[in-house]
């Protein structure tokens, strides 16, 4: 069974540009979560989508947005990139609950903002 996949692996942008990151969940999973892991920080929760709707978002500005498609894949968009947006962005998927075995993570997209 294929795991969570993310693309691209690496992304280099300049300040002010927009970045689009993509995630395909494990087959059968309806929930997709996005996290940011900046240098020296833990995984910071960004967004949670389930059944095509945004269920919750973390303490990030509105220029971080996303969506979930009917096939449950998801896209994270970061507008007006700033240098501090440079980080590893992780996507995870699960069934409706985070308990038990928790979420299954993808390998991440490394975003570098110059």
């Amino acid at each position: 069974e294929a795991g969570v996949t993310q693309s691209p692996t690496h992304l280099i942008k300049t300040r002010g540009q927009q970045a689009t990151l993509r995630c395909s969940p494990i087959s059968g999973h309806t929930s997709v979560y996005w996290y940011q892991q900046a240098l020296g920080l833990g995984l910071q929760f960004l967004l949670w989508y389930d059944e095509g709707e945004e269920r919750n978002r973390g303490n990030f500005p509105p220029r971080f947005s996303g969506r979930q498609f009917p096939n449950y894949s998801s896209e994270l968009n970061v507008n007006a990139l700033e240098l501090e947006d440079s980080a590893l962005y992780l996507c995870a998927s699960s069934l409706w609950s985070l308990m038990g075995t928790g979420q299954f993570f993808g390998p991440g997209t490394r975003l570098t903002v110059l």
């Binding site: 995984l43 919750n56 985070l98 075995t101 928790g102 993570f105 390998p107 991440g108």
Partner: protein, 114 residues
């Protein structure tokens, strides 16, 4: 406000000895705790979890202990193996608004020396 703290950014242990990774939390509403392991260039993978109604959960070489009065949990790995070298994230979840919200710690990098 870092609600889940891993105060040791790194830990080195000899192969065959015990590795103890610690995690402290501040929110008494957390009802589930999880440990994830992360290798470089890979996403975190679920390792072991514990419900807040328990004080110990064991899975092979891995045991998680929960001390609710101290708001402290620890992961014990016995015996430690070189393949255990990775970053370990502690996470805590709570039910809010009908869904689980997960908060991650900053991670502890474990190095097991052969």
């Amino acid at each position: 406000d870092q609600q889940v703290k891993q105060n040791s950014p790194s830990l080195s242990v000899q192969e065959g000895r015990i590795s103890i990774l610690n995690c402290d939390y501040t929110n008494s509403m957390f009802d589930y705790f999880l440990w994830y392991k992360k290798y470089p260039a890979e996403g975190p993978t679920f390792l072991i979890s514990i419900s807040s109604i328990k004080d110990k959960n064991e899975d092979g070489r891995f045991t998680v202990f929960l001390n609710k009065s101290a708001k402290h949990l620890s992961l014990h790995i016995v015996p430690s193996q070189p393949g255990d070298s990775a970053v370990y994230f502690c996470a805590a979840s709570r039910t809010a608004g009908g869904y689980q919200k997960v908060t991650f710690g900053t991670g502890t990098k474990l190095q097991v020396i052969p």
